[in-house]
């Protein structure tokens, strides 16, 4: 008999695959890897509602599906409301004796567009109402499914098809929307960032997110070789660079208290991260310096918060 778990050092990972092979994700897709790992952390007793996006298209072309869990493709903007209805419905039926009492994990997923733009209101409503669910945002920093259009989560300087680098522009001219702080401001019990480049940290956070009563939000960094103009064998490496440079720090906010999960002694220069990706290739040294300055500021602010409000 095959073992139920895979042991990696001190870590145990569910050996079962919930995202079956045969899906149509691009080679080296960080999001596909993240979903695979997240589902291993979530386990069997779950219902998943997923907003429109790459993952939905790549996992469910009729008549096949990669999903081994009950999985619903919602609309682009309503995953928050859908999971609210599913959770409220099943819990009401349990209270009324119409469904057996059971600890079901309610999970909603969406890309950065479905979360930061079109689905922001629906998710904000679901978090504010306090439904018991975990929301996982797969942040690949643009609308990749429809052809690399900019979202409000696209970082400053990145070239996309609707905010391209051109004669009169240098790509995205706005700063990335800070979804983590927006959702933390809802006062929900658990908010975190995570990256599949740090799989055990990621898995632990997903486990925590589904175990906590009430809403939880995890912002997951999803390297997109296609949209970021990187080679497919560098996904893990670029994910690590994002954290090591301070572009995407790993941290948790539990009950309003901060914990930085991985803090490099010295942050690597942002240039290393930017130079690895075609979407930043056009940036001048002065633009790169500007980005470095912003990363320094943001990281210092995060550290200041973590010192002022430590999560113990």
């Amino acid at each position: 008999m095959a073992p139920d778990t895979i042991k990696v050092g001190k870590h145990q990972i569910d050996a079962k695959e919930y995202l079956a092979p045969g899906h149509t994700f691009c080679t080296g897709c960080g999001e596909a890897l993240a979903i695979r790992l997240a589902c291993k952390a979530i386990g069997n007793d779950a219902i998943i509602a997923m907003a429109t996006g790459c993952s939905e298209v790549c996992t469910s072309p009729l008549p096949v599906t990669s999903w081994q869990l009950p999985w619903l493709h919602t609309l682009f903007e309503n995953a928050g409301a859908e999971i609210s209805g599913i959770e409220a419905g099943l819990k009401a039926m349990m209270r009324k004796g119409k469904a057996p009492e059971r600890d079901i994990k309610f999970v909603a997923m969406g890309g950065d567009g479905g979360t930061s733009d079109i689905g922001l209101q629906s998710l904000s409503g679901a978090l504010e109402r306090g439904h018991d669910f975990l929301y996982l945002c797969w942040d690949n920093e643009a609308y990749m499914n429809t052809g690399i259009q900019r979202s409000s989560a696209t970082p400053y300087g990145a070239s996309t098809t609707t905010a391209p680098a051109g004669k009169l522009s240098m790509g995205q001219s706005t700063q990335k929307k800070n979804l983590v702080e927006i959702f933390a401001a809802h006062g929900i019990p658990y908010v975190a960032t995570a990256s599949p480049s740090y799989p055990f940290d990621f898995i632990n956070k997903v486990k925590k997110g589904v175990a906590i009563k009430g809403p939880a939000y995890i912002h997951v960094y999803a390297v997109c070789p296609t949209g970021w103009r990187t080679t497919s064998d560098r996904t893990i490496e670029i994910g690590k660079l994002a954290t090591e440079t301070g572009v995407f720090p790993l941290y948790e906010i539990e009950g309003g208290k901060y914990r930085i999960n991985y803090e490099p002694k010295n942050l690597k220069p942002v240039e290393e991260y930017l130079k690895a990706q075609g979407r930043f290739r056009h940036l001048s040294p002065s633009e790169i310096a500007k980005i470095q300055e912003k990363v320094n500021e943001d990281f210092a602010l995060l550290k200041e918060r973590a010192e002022r409000l430590p999560a113990g």
Binding site: L75, A81, E82, G89, S122
Partner: protein, 391 residues
């Protein structure tokens, strides 16, 4: 034993949803349906109804949460009107396509601009091709009866489709009428528990909402259309059982003094009761005129229409929704399309009016009859002819 109580239309539909023991109400306030969800919320928070009341942040989320709840196997109810109804639109298609028996009351209202809150069928008519079953109620008793029977019809394994009850904003939603309410045991005997065969369930993981290619989409839509059309016998069967149990019988199209009538006036919703008085007056004066009250709008009741207009020479259809730049009114147009080639001898006239809560008096319905007859005799009419509207 039923009891007769004074209820406004909003409370009549809410009462039916309470007696149906709904599990989830997800709703957003919008005039003129707010009374419905206020009453539902009261029921839940006073312990008169064991349900989850989900106070969502928009109508789009209201219908989305209803989708989730109904898909999870919960009996689900909501209400909306006008602009909120339009915000729901995208989700309406999915609830129907996912075969989820959500029941919704719509306090019909005009659509802006200009900003307004009063009644007409501009909202209702926009949903004609969403795949929802739809009825128009003419009074508060019908609102109660149609809401209660809607759960039974929608959840029937042969149907599994969402159901919309259209009720005139303000003139029914906010007007008190006497309504017969059944005993809870009678309701329980009529309405079995809801069980969706493919509810979201970790023990039976299914994939919902797949991507579909041109190779299969057309076949699926055709099957969906055939299915929606095929629900009429079930609707009639359940309305018949409802009549046997509660003493009130409903038909897709109600005929009033229609037998042998040369001219038939057709009206949907609450104004049909005003039209009845106009027909009474004309009958007293010896005129050969009757009334058809349109109840079932979706699926379109072709056979009932053909039966209802048997022997008539003129059909005068009254409509309450402007169709800007389109052919005449939506009900008028569909009646003409349904009758064309089947009853070419029947002359059909159409008149629009009562937009945005504009009142229509008995005398104006008499005008509709006269002008309709004149159009039929003449054999031609303007694309848009209105009553009670200047200009």
């Amino acid at each position: 034993m039923s009891k007769r109580v004074p209820l406004e239309g909003s409370f009549a539909t809410a009462e039916a949803a309470r007696m149906a023991d709904v599990d989830v109400i997800a709703a957003y306030p919008i005039t003129p349906q707010s009374h419905i969800i206020e009453r539902m919320s009261e029921f839940v928070h006073n312990g008169e109804l064991k349900a989850a009341f989900v106070p969502v942040e928009s109508e789009h989320s209201a219908m989305s949460a209803c989708w989730g709840a109904s898909g999870a196997g919960a009996r689900t109810y909501t209400a909306t009107a006008s602009q909120g109804f339009f915000l729901m639109h995208e989700v309406l298609y999915f609830v129907a396509g996912m075969r989820l028996p959500v029941v919704m009351a719509v306090s019909n209202r005009a659509v802006g601009p200009p900003a307004n809150i009063w009644g007409d069928y501009s909202d209702a008519m926009s949903a004609s091709y969403t795949g929802w079953l739809q009825v128009f109620a003419a009074n508060n008793q019908e609102i109660f009866d149609f809401t209660l029977s809607a759960f039974r019809i929608a959840e029937d394994p042969r149907v599994l489709l969402p159901f919309m009850i259209h009720m005139d904003g303000f003139t029914l939603s906010h007007v008190v009428e006497a309504v017969f309410l059944p005993e809870q045991e009678e309701v329980d005997a009529f309405l079995p528990p809801y069980k969706h065969p493919y509810a979201y369930n970790p023990d039976n993981p299914c994939c919902y909402g797949s991507v579909m290619s041109p190779a299969t989409y057309g076949e699926l839509k055709k099957a969906q259309d055939v299915h929606v059309r095929g629900t009429i016998p079930v609707i009639k069967e359940i309305w018949k059982e409802f009549g046997d149990r509660f003493g009130r019988y409903y038909k897709p199209i109600d005929s009033y003094k229609a037998e042998g009538a040369k001219t038939l006036l057709m009206v949907a919703g609450g104004l049909s009761e005003t039209a009845k008085i106009a027909v009474d007056k004309r009958r007293e004066q010896g005129e050969s005129v009757g009334l058809l009250t349109l109840h079932l709008w979706r699926p379109f009741p072709f056979e009932d229409l053909y039966k209802a207009v048997e022997g008539a020479e003129n059909l005068v259809v009254f409509d309450r929704a402007p169709t800007l730049g389109g052919p005449t009114g939506p009900i008028i147009g569909e009646m003409k399309a349904a009758l064309f080639g089947v009853r070419n001898d029947l002359r059909v006239a159409g008149i629009l009016g009562a937009f945005c809560g504009r009142n229509l008096e008995v005398t104006e319905f008499e005008e509709v009859i006269d002008r309709g007859n004149a159009i039929c005799e003449r054999g031609s009419q303007e694309m848009v002819e209105t009553v009670g509207i200047r200009g």
